[in-house]
């Protein structure tokens, strides 16, 4: 097919689909419903393709059957034990059978067991750097308020020392960690006014962080929209349709 025609068809279909999905912003309508079902259908179909092509073939079948390279050289042997996963996986399908539904717990249990084991194994590895960063020094080692501007000569010296302003910042950080942790104590009734205040401030401190996350997400989300607008108005309309 002519590449020009092909790319016009492809882009036009993409633009129509994009408008179809955008139409839901006004209200749910038949146009949206059509494209939603196309979307779900294509996604479902692709799932079936990717299932074999991207997961089962490379990480299961090829290991089980091994390989003989076409160009000669050493292949990999087939590890036949992998075949056992097929019947175990099939047990999951018993969920549709009321009488034997319990069998689906075997593959599920294996998945959850692996997850749980990894959780125990990785707990320290995941959280210890965070523990470490929660323990800054809160006593200054230099009694100047501000850290002076960095120059190549004083760089390492600056990094080692803690200045008053930095110590204050660290103290704020530590208070934040402890206040937020206290917010997540569930089983102890906090009766003192002070502790109630701490818990409450923990929640407020969290809101600062959440606001900041909201703010920093904005750039990316808007850029994605702008990219779509560029796709519709520049790539499709201006470049393809009007031929600029």
């Amino acid at each position: 097919m002519n590449p020009e025609t092909y790319s016009l068809i492809k882009l036009t279909l993409g633009v129509i689909a994009t408008f179809g999905l955008y139409s839901v912003l006004y209200r749910e309508n038949k146009f949206y419903r059509f494209w939603e079902h196309v979307f779900l259908g294509l996604a479902g179909g692709w799932a079936l393709v990717a299932l074999w092509k991207e997961t089962l073939k490379p990480s299961w079948y090829d290991k089980m059957a091994g390989s003989i390279p076409e160009t000669g050289g050493e292949g990999t042997p087939g590890y036949f034990v992998w075949a056992i996963l097929l019947p175990i996986g099939m047990m999951g399908y018993m969920v549709f059978n009321k009488k034997h539904a319990w069998m689906s717990r075997i593959p599920i249990g294996i998945i959850l067991g692996i997850w749980s084991g990894q959780q125990l194994l990785n707990f320290w590895r995941t959280y210890s750097p965070q523990f470490r960063s929660s323990m800054p020094t809160i006593v200054p080692t230099r009694w100047e308020f501000m850290q002076p501007a960095a120059t190549p000569e004083n760089f390492t010296d600056l990094a080692r020392h803690t200045y008053i302003s930095e110590a204050i910042g660290n103290l704020v950080a530590v208070i934040t960690v402890l206040a937020v942790l206290s917010y997540f104590i569930f089983s102890i009734e906090l009766k003192s006014k002070f502790m109630q205040g701490v818990t409450k401030s923990g929640r407020y401190l969290l809101m600062i962080g959440f606001g900041a996350i909201f703010g920093s997400t904005v750039m990316m989300r808007f850029t994605l929209l702008i990219d779509r607008m560029y796709f519709i108005w520049v790539e499709w309309m201006s470049q393809r349709l009007l031929g600029n």
Binding site: L21, V24, R27, E28, R33, E36, F39, L40, L42, A43, G44, A47, G92, V95, F96, A101, S104, R105, P107, I108, I111, L112, W115, S116, Q119, L120, F123, W124, S128, P129, F131, R132, S134, M135, P136, T137, I138, V139, T141, R160, H161, T162, V174, V177, L178, L181, S182, F184, I185, F186, S187, I188, E189, L206, M207, G209, F210, I213, F214, T217
Partner: protein, 289 residues
């Protein structure tokens, strides 16, 4: 490789946490334990009740995450919600984006209806697999919400960018929303758009709060002990770091490899290559590598 030197304390620390949890699970068998109020959870009954009044379905989404503790926990909460819905006879929609979660959901929800004695109320629409692709899932669930005008929606589990699509769509149809995400990056969007939000560990505390089962309540107490252990570690660490820092900087002048106690604890020395045991090699493979 970190089993020598301070590496041992790492294993010890996690073992202590594990012990806290297990001890409290056994301790809690015959005790009534206080749990603080969690706002979003009290709203569940009201939300389901309102859906019943309006004759509209209750929607639940366990997130897009793989089958792990988070999605299982979400399904635990949904089992409770479904029980309430089954009593009120409101229809439910549970939309999954991960087939393994769908399999568990299917079984859990069927059990709930059976134990309530109304197995006929669960139909093919109740528990659905929508799509395993993030945004196809988002489009599909939005469509279901808008077409069926769900009156109460529950988003609990691992949510990513799609969180705001769900929350705003549900908001536009005036549904009561209770949400929670263990992904910190999504919580702000739920806070901005939903009526009630469970933050962080409140999500894990939810099933203990709702069911008051001794195992769960005990485990929650154990978690609290664990957090207090972390808090004390932090306080101790700050005290030691602050007291040693000045000395460490002076020491660095002579020995650039000097470390404070906390540095040593958190980055133990790799084992000395000299202590490596002598091993024989497999005859043929030693070469081939």
């Amino acid at each position: 490789m970190q089993y020598f030197d301070t590496g041992k304390y790492q294993v010890l620390f996690v073992l202590v946490m594990v012990a806290f949890i297990l001890i409290n699970i056994f301790r809690a068998q015959n005790k009534d334990i206080f749990i603080r109020r969690i706002a979003g959870l009290n709203a569940i009954e009201d939300a389901v009740g309102r859906a019943t009044e309006m004759g509209k379905p209750v929607l639940m989404v366990p997130g897009l995450g793989a089958l792990n503790a988070i999605s299982v926990q979400a399904l635990n909460i949904f089992a409770h919600i479904t029980r309430t819905a089954a009593r009120f006879a409101s229809p439910i929609r549970l939309c999954c984006g991960e087939a393994a979660v769908f399999a568990v959901a299917q079984e859990v929800i069927r059990d709930v209806y059976q134990s309530e004695g109304v197995p006929e109320r669960m139909d093919g629409d109740s528990v659905r697999f929508v799509s395993d692709r993030q945004f196809a899932f988002a489009a599909g669930v939005s469509g279901i919400m808008l077409r069926e005008q769900t009156a109460a929606t529950f988003f609990m589990g691992e949510f990513f960018a799609e969180s705001l699509i769900f929350a705003e769509t549900a908001n536009s149809i005036g549904a009561i929303q209770v949400a929670s995400s263990t992904e910190n990056t999504q919580t702000p969007f739920f806070i901005a758009a939903c009526d009630y939000v469970l933050i962080g560990e409140e999500f894990y505390a939810a099933s203990a709060y709702l069911t008051r089962k001794p195992v769960l309540v005990g485990s929650l107490v154990g978690q609290d002990w664990g957090k207090m252990l972390i808090a004390s570690l932090v306080v101790l660490g700050i005290a030691m770091e602050s007291s040693q820092r000045k000395g460490w900087i002076e020491q660095m002048e002579n020995d650039p490899a000097a470390k404070t106690s906390m540095m040593r604890l958190f980055s133990p020395e790799p084992p000395d290559p000299a202590t490596k045991p002598v091993r024989q090699k497999h005859p043929e493979e030693g070469e081939a590598q």
